[in-house]
């Protein structure tokens, strides 16, 4: 009985697929993320939503949109202006200027390895879930691109190239905000950085200087820098935990960070740990860009910690201002941090506007 049913089903399928042949269902070309060896060996797979798989055409469209000032209200500002390839996709100002010169209140964030943010909490305060949702925000943010989605959809729709590119990427030339954000998210997921000197060292391809080795030890040693509890390690090559902490910047908060999102006072002053990759390209540092150099950051952890009720328990020795590194230790720690710079990433032609 069952066998018969399966046969009948099969026949129906075959008939259906035969009659469908001339309709020619269009499908864009799948493009798998190239997962770096160190990631493959050590950490979980990247997060790619089932309804937005990576495709060659989608990524290409996303890239074009990312670099195109058409997204902003007066067509002067692209995502890439605040997220520039040469700055590991952040910018060098403390606060970025929106189209009418207004300043946001947070430092722009570098964009790489975003598909490995497993909890998918984006922004300094984790305020948006998923890259697709994130991309909705800057377009209409009055301090950023100050556009309206309705207007942007119309502009893209009457553009000479975009309708065709959407057709290729998504099988429809009818442009809407969802498809725009999907394409951008696809491009963002390709921004993978895993080729620093330290990565090559972990793969056994290069050796480190004694200063870099010592700096890494300071980073890992609980009695010294003790950075690894929040900023990754040789086993977590993202160099962040993507979790929210108060790392002792202030006694009182002007920006509540995670607390703005959760409404829980215990979250006040907590921000997402940034990755320590590519620091050489991403100054200034912290959510408000208060530090202009890596030395200032190291001094902060060494003797500049400020106590507050939500400071992370891992920020030990607050009473003494911090972990108290010697001049030599600071300089070695910095040498190690600089070994996390990925020059191939900022020079990658796939990521540069052409």
């Amino acid at each position: 009985m069952k066998k018969l049913a399966i046969h009948i089903l099969l026949i129906i399928f075959i008939i259906l697929s035969c009659s469908n042949e001339d309709v020619q269902q269009y499908a864009p070309t799948p493009s798998l993320l190239k997962i770096p060896e160190l990631f493959e060996n050590n950490i979980l797979k990247p997060v790619i939503p089932s309804d937005n798989q990576q495709t060659v055409e989608g990524i290409e469209l996303g890239k074009k949109l990312f670099f195109d000032p058409i997204l902003s209200g007066d067509k002067t500002l692209a995502c890439a202006d605040c997220h520039a390839p040469e700055n590991a996709f952040t910018d060098s100002s403390r606060f970025s200027e929106g189209i009418d010169g207004s300043l946001g209140k947070r430092n722009s964030m570098p964009l790489f390895n975003l598909a490995w943010n497993y909890d998918e909490n984006f922004f300094w305060d984790g305020g948006t879930f998923s890259l697709e949702h994130q991309a909705f925000i800057p377009v209409s943010d009055p301090t950023e691109m100050k556009n309206s989605w309705k207007q942007l959809q119309q502009e893209l729709q009457k553009h000479p190239e975009y309708p065709n590119l959407f057709q290729k990427a998504f099988g429809t030339s009818k442009i809407d905000s969802t498809l725009v954000t999907k394409a951008i998210a696809q491009f963002e997921r390709t921004l993978i950085s895993a080729n620093s000197k330290f990565d090559k060292y972990l793969l056994g391809e290069v050796i480190l200087t004694p200063e870099e080795v010592d700096g890494f030890n300071i980073f890992m040693e609980e009695t010294k820098g003790d950075c690894f509890h929040c900023h990754g390690s040789d086993k977590n090559p993202l160099w962040t935990d993507n979790i929210f902490h108060n790392n002792g910047l202030d006694e009182t908060f002007t920006d509540l960070g995670l607390g703005t999102i959760t409404g829980d006072p215990a979250d006040n002053g907590k921000f997402k740990s940034p990755s320590l990759r590519n620091l050489i390209f991403t100054a200034p540092y912290m959510h408000d860009g208060r530090f202009t150099t890596i030395d200032e950051v190291i001094n902060h952890y060494s003797e500049g910690l400020k106590n507050s009720s939500t400071i992370d328990p891992l920020m030990k020795k607050v009473a003494q201002g911090g972990v108290g590194l010697s001049i030599q230790e600071k300089s070695n720690l910095k040498a190690f941090l600089l070994a996390l710079s990925d020059y191939d990433f900022i020079g990658n032609p796939d990521f540069i506007n052409d």
């Binding site: 086993k235 328990p313 891992l314």
Partner: protein, 256 residues
């Protein structure tokens, strides 16, 4: 391929359910473990975190901001002395209320078992011979300079001593290691937690309790003023944690 398997499974399952619709048709039972937490009997969830409301046996007032710990090798010992060992692990994270419930990946035969146990942390084989992507991804590693492997527990928060300023503590449990000499000297600190005999007659839930206060109590009265941070490379502190850990777990109840 996976889809095919699923398909086959579905067919197998539906065939089975046709012939007998009781759960334990093969005399098998599903087993799960719930992890619950208390402070000397007062139940704790993550909503009790971040406020100083507990008092340890040394008289310090403290809060909890983060608690996660690893259990592994759940084992059922039959009356014949045979061991059913699950070579799996579960990272309980009370901070985000994740993995508070854990289902064994396969069923076990119903019957009476002489003992049910798990390992707190990882034994040395699991600790050093595996590279676990899920644990690495949540930064659960121990630095290579301390021998590598994984944390067993991270308990963090703040304490005050006679209402002085709040100080952070990070009670991190790892395999004890003395790194002061030329080579590392280790002492095992994982331990087996035994719950005694149990009769499994149907699907079963084990409700496991951790009394967090025990970590500070017995046999070593923990002095947070002295031992609050940088405890990973502190060999003696790790031994004391191991000793205090012996009585933190108990089997609160069994639901069948």
């Amino acid at each position: 391929m996976k889809k095919n398997l699923l398909f086959v499974l579905i067919i197998v399952l539906s065939t089975i359910s046709c012939t007998d619709n009781s759960n334990n048709s093969f005399n098998q039972a599903n087993i799960s473990f719930n992890f619950k937490h208390n402070w000397d009997g007062t139940s704790i969830t993550n909503s009790d975190f971040n406020t100083i409301k507990f008092i340890n046996s040394n008289g310090e007032n403290l809060s909890i901001e983060r608690l996660r710990y690893l259990i592994s090798k759940i084992t059922f010992t039959t009356s014949a002395g045979e061991k059913l060992v699950f070579n799996d692990y579960n990272l309980v994270d009370l901070t985000y209320a994740s993995n508070l419930s854990y289902n064994l990946i396969t069923t076990i035969p119903i019957g009476t078992y002489n003992n049910v146990s798990f390992t707190f942390g990882f034994d040395n084989d699991a600790n050093y011979n595996g590279n676990y992507a899920d644990l690495n991804s949540v930064s659960w590693n121990v630095p290579a300079m301390l021998g590598g492997g994984y944390h067993f527990m991270q308990l963090e928060g703040k304490f005050t001593d006679n209402n002085t300023q709040e100080t952070g503590y990070a009670y991190h449990v790892i395999r004890a290691v003395d790194n002061t000499g030329d080579s590392l000297i280790f002492e095992d600190t994982f331990f087996e937690v035994n719950f005694g005999s149990v009769t499994i007659s149907d699907d079963t839930i084990f409700n496991i309790e951790m009394n967090i206060a025990e970590w500070f109590k017995n046999p070593n009265t923990w002095d947070l003023k002295v031992l609050n941070n940088m405890l990973m490379p502190n060999y003696d502190a790790q031994i004391m944690m191991f000793e205090n850990g012996q009585n933190v777990f108990s089997l609160e109840s069994i639901e069948q």
